[in-house]
């Protein structure tokens, strides 16, 4: 990663996600409108079958970038486009229903923490995205149970709400929920952070399967072992005050 | 009985002054033109208090003429105190013939019953009405009930019938049973027993309803459809008795139940005294 090279997108496959000129600051009004720049003029592209790993020092803006791609954070400037229905859909400045549509059909997000919807059984939490897409209830439950099994969640926990689960168990519920639908684009924020080695391997396997099946993946992987296993390319995210001038996209040495 | 004295200082014909009669007649015309719709009118002070038939008396006073023959009944009887009083009142102030025979009357003023003898073209039935608004118990606000009638929003009425079935297993309302007139307005037929409701449907007679305290007049013109409200699976039914009238043997009329001694012996007797006498 010591020699940044120019654009290294695979020219044979059109990108699934294309970001250009993305900039974002946080303005904290309570502290005299203090502006904290985080992202400056970020550009990247990810194609189906690729897994782009975001790397960089803590606080550099990796998570901010990921959340901005999902529309969870608002970009100040630039463009985030996803490939949908053979056309580009722009997400920056888009109407909420456009972003919701993209999230529903095209883009999945595994957050670092499961936002626990209280009192809903784990299997139902996982099955919900399928139900929303009109999959029949028993079918959706079966697929959810299968996925939970793959991720090592014991059957006795399936009917329980995840609020009382361990961090690792909650994270696996999170992952199952986001991966139960075959999204063309997957955004992963530290998906294995709270998992032990055995469960980590299961998740890595799952991510690789999706990637190889054609998903375009962008992720933050703290664990270098995980990163090496899933990523096909690296994108360096540097804090805005970084001296690096050249675009930080580097091909992963194979 | 002194004759009516039409000199100055005495009562105007039929007690009410001409302007008042004209006003009431206008209200009656409007009521006849919009069957079942409650027309407000300027009710006057009458020589008896509210609750004693002032509405019915004002309607009768507005329409009665010297050629009329008046019958007055109270719960079907010609001989109760109130029926007698009202009949004598009109005999004095309107100089009319009176009768107890239904077939002979041109105007029949009634409290809470419809005569058993079928009415004919040309007869007028004047009902005494306590509460003209059929929705009053369900919706206390006058502003709201007027709006409901205007917009034909009668769901609340159906709700009250549903509630009756839920609570009693059947529609338990046995008097003042709500009806729909001419497919439009929902009306209270006054506290007649539901037994009498079918008599209102397409009756050859003109029905006039007067409420003195509430100051409303409404009407059902002759041959107008009057349908009692119900549910498809709980259709409207009238009362039936296993007994017959102890005096005339009728099995078709509305029977009053009377306790005749301290041992609790019961007699069932026709409520309509004229009908009963006519059969004996």
């Amino acid at each position: 990663m010591s020699h940044p090279e120019k654009s290294c997108e695979d020219p044979t496959m059109p990108p699934a996600l294309r970001v250009s000129g993305l900039s974002k600051s946080f303005v904290v009004h309570a502290h005299g409108d203090l502006a904290l720049p985080v992202l400056h003029d970020v550009s990247l592209a990810v194609s189906p079958g690729e897994c782009l790993a975001l790397v960089g020092p803590s606080g550099a803006g990796k998570s901010t970038l990921l959340r901005s791609l999902y529309g969870n954070y608002r970009a100040d400037a630039g463009s985030i486009r996803v490939r949908q229905d053979d056309a580009w859909t722009e997400l920056v400045g888009a109407e909420p229903r456009t972003v919701l549509d993209v999230r529903h059909r095209t883009m999945g997000f595994v957050s670092q923490f499961l936002r626990v919807i209280p009192r809903v059984a784990a299997v139902d939490v996982v099955a919900e995205p399928l139900l929303r897409r009109g999959v029949e209830a028993t079918e959706a439950s079966h697929r959810a149970e299968f996925l939970l099994g793959m991720l090592g969640i014991p059957a006795r926990l399936w009917a329980l709400p995840p609020a009382t689960f361990s961090g690792g168990e909650q994270q696996r519920i999170n992952i199952a929920r986001s991966l139960i639908v075959d999204y063309p684009i997957l955004l992963l924020d530290e998906p294995t952070a709270s998992l032990d080695a055995a469960n980590r391997d299961g998740v890595v396997e799952l991510i690789c399967q999706r990637r190889d099946a054609g998903a375009a993946v962008v992720g933050i992987f703290h664990d270098t072992g995980v990163r090496d296993a899933v990523a096909t390319r690296i994108h360096e995210v540097l804090p805005p005050a970084s001296p690096a001038g050249a675009p930080p996209c580097v091909a992963k040495p194979s | 009985m002194p004759d009516i004295n039409m000199t100055e200082g005495a009562y105007n014909y039929a007690y009410l002054d001409e302007q008042t009669k004209r006003m009431i007649r206008r209200a009656i015309l409007k009521a006849v033109a919009v069957p079942g719709y409650q027309v407000p009118f300027g009710g006057r002070e009458m020589p008896l208090p509210y609750g004693w038939g002032t509405g019915g008396i004002q309607v009768t006073a507005a329409i009665i003429g010297r050629d009329d023959t008046l019958k007055v009944i109270d719960q079907g009887a010609d001989d109760t105190t109130n029926a007698v009083s009202i009949r004598r009142f009109f005999a004095h102030v309107a100089d009319v013939a009176t009768t107890t025979r239904t077939e002979e009357a041109t105007i029949i003023q009634t409290r809470h019953r419809v005569p058993e003898t079928p009415l004919k073209d040309g007869q007028i039935l004047v009902f005494q009405v306590p509460i003209p608004e059929p929705l009053r118990m369900l919706e206390p606000r006058e502003t709201e009930t007027r709006t409901l009638h205007a917009l034909s929003e009668y769901g609340v009425m159906q709700v009250s019938l549903y509630e009756s079935i839920a609570r009693h297993g059947r529609i338990a309302k046995s008097y003042s049973y709500p009806v729909q007139v001419n497919g439009r307005y929902i009306m209270s037929p006054s506290p007649i027993p539901k037994f009498d409701n079918p008599k209102l449907d397409r009756s050859p007679a003109l029905q006039l309803y007067g409420a003195g305290r509430e100051k409303r007049i409404y009407a059902v013109p002759p041959y107008t459809p009057v349908k009692s409200l119900d549910f498809d699976d709980h259709p409207f039914e009238i009362e039936r008795w296993t007994e017959c009238c102890a005096f005339c043997g009728s099995t078709e009329s509305f029977l009053d139940e009377m306790i005749v001694d301290d041992a609790g012996k019961r007699l069932f007797v026709c409520s309509d005294t004229d009908y009963c006498e006519g059969r004996r």
């Binding site: 009004h29 229903r97 529903h104 | 769901g155």
Partner: protein
Amino acid sequence: MSAATLPSPLLSARNITKRFGGRIACHNVNFDLWPGEVLGIVGESGSGKTTLLNCLAGRLTPDAGSVIYETASAGTVDIHRLSEARRRLLTRTEWGFVNQDAREGLRMGVSAGANIGERLMAVGARHYGEIRGSAADWLARVEIDADRLDDRPTTFSGGMRQRLQIARNLVSGPRLVFMDEPTGGLDVSVQARILDLLRGLVERLHLSAVLVTHDLGVARLLTHRLMVMQGGAVIEEGLTDQVLDDPQHAYTQMLVASILPV
């Protein structure tokens, strides 16, 4: 959460302004609501959110602006230009309104079954058994015991009354539901169950809704989009998770920062 690609919104608010005397309650509010969307309006007391809701639902006439609704089969209508008869019919069939105080949205003197059945009877249902069956069905869907069908709401707890109010509104299959603090004033555990119920119903029935609340947690759970109101004006709007996780306006930031941690 499927955002449809239909050509026209379900409900459009244009320049809604309402004054009470000299005081501006809400000012120049504009938005489009699309089928299947749940829009949250949040703000503190006096922000104008309830006034706005009442203007949208036809309960108050705005001083300026218009509310346009796309009916099921009769094209678009300007709510405040409709005859009172049509507007009242609309509110009883295609719309629902869940009041904060369930008593305002129920007939307290008649049974639960009669309450739920009323909308059906109002549009001509005349078979007692069928009406009762529909009412029982809905009672189950809002998780009230079947044997309470003939009980009056005066005998129900606050949470049960609220669920009954929801059932009473949904029985006519409305396309758009207005909710004014639907869980306000209820115990926390009761709130939670009702939020779950609402979430489930909105999803399953593909309802669109406009929900007023001061509780950002309720907004997070139930809404797709959020409008933040302050002093009668909409000062921020967007995707719910974006407004709550990345608030832009000073007031929104203050609101979000004020949530008590649990």
